[in-house]
Amino acid sequence: MKEIALNIMDICINSLKAGATEISICIDEKSFPGEISINIDDNGRGMDREMLEMSADPFFTTGTKKKVGLGLPLLKQQALLTGGRFDIVSEPGTGTKIMASFISNSIDRQPVGDLPGVISLLATSAEGTDIKFKYITASGSWTMYTTEIKKELETDSLDNSTLRKYIKELIDYNIGILDPVR
């Protein structure tokens, strides 16, 4: 993975596969200065203890087409490599919470990447799943709910490439004024 944003997308796709109807993505640069913490919570089917232990093992996967599952192991490795932290909490039936923090000025930290592109793609293509996105920095915070957008636009589906482009602009502008780590 070349960008943190792509890791976020990969993890969120796991949430979608777990049947989540709500996914919350929170990026926090404020609580721990010098760190970028990424929190992804979903209300999908969750994992039992045994599966949770295996989830960070690259040779464990729920997929059927291949023998490896690199999503979580990659995120964990990349967070720990910067001197950051990684934590995963999950319970069958209630959902999964993932926290990964990256030390911002570590030489091993990847760039955050095209976050507006990733979030707009998730927000518009995840039919039937509400996405909540929050970005917090020392200068302030910004939140976006897909439920709110759907309500304002009086539509039941955001899956439209023109709309995706505009939502990307919206995210780009609002994160931009928060002066985020790139």
Binding site: M9, I13, G69, V118, L153, D156, S157, N160, S161, T162
Partner: protein, 129 residues
């Protein structure tokens, strides 16, 4: 045009195009449209599938081709990511491997527009699930 800065801006601009309904109209006869699936598991994402999807999505619209671009999981061809499955109306799906944005352009121009096969097709015996 002004950049979209607030939800209000988004609301105003969204009056200029249809949302929601368009997809439902599409889904009534999906077999009449070009359908494209971009593999987006860890392997695909790491190889740049997101950029390719964004490219396909915007280029197809720009070039006036009605198509449904969706994401799918790993098709098992991790070595050839990003992989893209293209189904033209009335034809068997074709999977292309190592699709960069420039190869995506070739696929649109040659395969989607003219039905002419281009390099990079994987397994002939592939069947979609």
């Amino acid at each position: 045009m002004e950049k979209i800065k607030t939800l209000d801006d988004l609301k105003k601009i969204s009056k200029n195009f249809k949302t929601g309904i368009k997809l439902r109209e599409k889904s009534e006869h999906p077999e009449d449209l070009v359908r494209i699936k971009v593999a987006m598991a860890t392997c695909g994402i790491a190889s740049g599938a997101r950029e390719v999807m964004e490219y396909l999505d915007s280029e197809l619209e720009k070039r006036g081709i009605e198509a449904v671009v969706t994401q799918t999981g790993c098709m098992g061809y991790c070595y050839a990511e990003p992989t893209v499955e293209v189904s033209l109306p009335g034809k068997e799906p074709v999977v292309y491997g190592d699709v960069t944005t420039s190869r995506a352009d070739e696929i649109i121009e040659k395969y989607i527009k003219n039905g002419e096969l281009v390099d990079g097709i994987i397994p002939q015996n592939y069947e979609t699930i």
